[in-house]
Amino acid sequence: MTSAETPIVRFLEPDGSFAPSPEAEPLREIVDELDDAALAQMYRDMAVTRAFDQQATMLQRQGQLALWPPSLGQEAAQVGSARAARSQDTIFPSYREHAVAKIRGVDLVSVLALMRSATHGGWDPTDPKNGNTRLYTLVLGTQVPHATGFAMGLGFDGRTATGDVEKDEAVIVYYGDGAASEGDVHEAMVFAASYNTPQLFFLQNNQWAISVPVATQAAAPLADRSAGYGIPTLRIDGNDVLASYAASRMYLDESRAGGGPRAIEAVTYRMGAHTTSDDPTKYRSKDEEASWGRRDPIARMRAFLENRGAGSEFFADVDQEGEALAADVRTRIAAWPDPDPSSMFAHVYSEPHALVEQQAAWLAEYEASFEGGAA
């Protein structure tokens, strides 16, 4: 079976019409429970994140950021899964999950600070206001076994599978089609299956690992891999926010109930560059980009909402929120202070470390020696 033939969960056609695929029918109840406000919120999440993301790309062009990995095109996969997560859940992102970070409460200027290389982190995952969002991870796939270990701990501590859906915890870990080739991802799946972890492996297959197509990463559908480890897996239309929501909701709740790990392959498309450092025109065709442009996740949801009666006032309000967020982060990141040199020594170790302390003291003294001097 080729990728194109693999059954896929889809509720919304690219034109926004509601037409559940056969694979979506078992999940239909989850979508039917979403009211207008919830549906509107998903659109808002996607559109506002896109405004932020496009602003961030411009900020990189203007020299404010060292690098920017755009989420452009992947908003539905991210928003649906993040809205499906419950407040007690823990999120292990890769480095492009800007919509997820926003939904979980992370101040997006922190993500800009990371990509400005003013910090290696940006926020405190243990602070409740950040919605249990762990830090971005830049070495591909390394966060996946962390998520599995964390989920193992939830099991050992009885923080899951008690039967209380509002309290039982689960974990989502995000990774991509490139990272899917990393050994860490596979080892994490071996552990997850063996220890029956409350965990959703959420793969955003955006078709490209920088310049290398998914066909080089996988000769068979990526969804077959997790299934091969004994992990129930769904392949979804990653540009359909309802499919992402419904599949993630069902799988997270099955997993938190003690069902063990689950996996989703969200078939989506990286409409922008991998990061601001590459040039997609060198490796992919205009036709391909145009084809995926017609499957834009935001246009699709907008058409769906318009068909349900959403008016121009709503969309104007969303646009305004996006513009306000973009303006806010633009102002704040431009004024972002460089970290104090002493900060590089501050948290290398948790406990006292004479060598690092000596080097910190030396640098401080050395720098002080220039004050008012020739240098």
Partner: protein, 326 residues
């Protein structure tokens, strides 16, 4: 009775047991460490006594073991990982160096990484390829890690407990050739803190420094030298990162000569770092350059050749003769 005589591996086992009794968040992970008790029996009976949720016979995947240990630490556990043999740590090298070592720094202190990686290391056991190596310098080179190596049962007993109690990641290098060596363990009082270097034999002519299995080689060399009228002071490094230089420098200031010994190849190794620092700090006391006795810069050879590769007392004494003749 606070003193018990036991082999090194048994002392490790007793130290692990005590750490698990003292803190219910301590858990062990590794290949064959449960039912079998580890290939060196260091964890024998611990799964029986603490259960399968605290002593995990993991899948055979080192990156997965260390990666999931990191996640468990994020969930509030204190995992102690056993890497079965030195040469098998490399699949986990990325998780150790890019993740474990840097996570506290990346989080600007909002999380801690109390993970211990136990690595049985070194030669002298006649084993096949990848089973006799000394990879400690890779880890000592990595900011964010602490690296220690006990040389006696007493240190094994205490240092493993102190490593587990540390809120920083600790690479715990166990000289596997010493596992069967018996020694006295004081189960009530620790002799030194985790990162203290110790002078274990007094002397006045030459300072001999090393860690792990090399310490017994240095002691053997010192007693042979004594018969020849040469007085050697022996220093057990114990902590490879950070390095507690004061006892070494004090010793060299009194003897004026130093020989370092290690099993690992010499290039870009601990010996070079220590020799350079001693030269900086004790330059005017040195009567001779610091000499290093190391493994050769070749892959660890087939065990039938290990006696030619590993520094022994004769090679240490050859270096002692050279620093004295300088």
């Amino acid at each position: 009775m606070t003193f018990e005589t036991m082999p090194f591996a048994r002392a490790m086992n007793a130290g692990l047991r005590r750490a698990m009794e003292d803190d219910s968040r301590v858990m062990l992970m590794g290949e064959d460490i449960g039912k079998l008790g580890g290939v060196f029996r260091v964890t024998e009976h611990l799964q029986r006594d603490f259960g399968e949720n605290r002593v995990l016979d993991t899948p055979l995947a080192e990156a997965g073991i260390v990666g999931s240990a990191i996640g468990l630490a994020m969930a509030g556990f204190r995992p102690v990982v056993e890497i079965q043999f030195d040469g098998f740590v490399f699949p986990a090298f990325d998780q150790i160096t890019t993740q474990l070592a840097k996570l506290t720094n990346r989080h600007e202190g909002s999380i801690r990484m109390p993970v211990v990686i136990r690595i049985p290391y070194g030669g002298h056991i006649g084993a096949i390829e990848h089973h006799q190596e000394s990879p400690e310098a890779y880890f000592a080179h990595t900011p964010g890690l602490r690296v220690v190596s006990p040389s006696t049962p007493n240190d094994a007993y205490w240092m493993i407990q102190d490593a587990i109690a540390s809120d920083d990641p600790v690479i715990f290098m166990e000289p596997k050739s010493r596992y069967w060596q018996k020694g006295e363990v004081d189960t009530e009082h620790r002799a030194a803190t985790l990162h203290a270097t110790r002078v274990i034999r007094g002397g006045s002519d030459v300072t001999l420094v090393g860690h792990g299995a090399m310490v017994s080689v240095l002691l053997q060399a010192a007693s042979i030298a004594e018969g020849e009228g040469i007085s050697c002071e022996v220093v057990d490094l114990r902590s490879l990162s950070p390095i507690d230089y004061d006892p070494i420098v004090d010793s060299v200031r009194s003897t004026g000569r130093m020989v370092w010994a290690q099993e690992a190849p010499g290039t870009t190794s601990l010996g070079g770092e220590i020799a350079a620092t001693v030269a900086e700090r004790a330059f005017y006391s040195l009567e001779a350059p610091v000499l290093r006795v190391t493994g050769f810069d070749v892959p660890f050879p087939p065990a039938k050749l290990e006696s030619f590769y590993l520094p022994d007392a004769d090679r240490v004494l050859e270096a002692v003769d050279r620093v004295l003749a300088f």
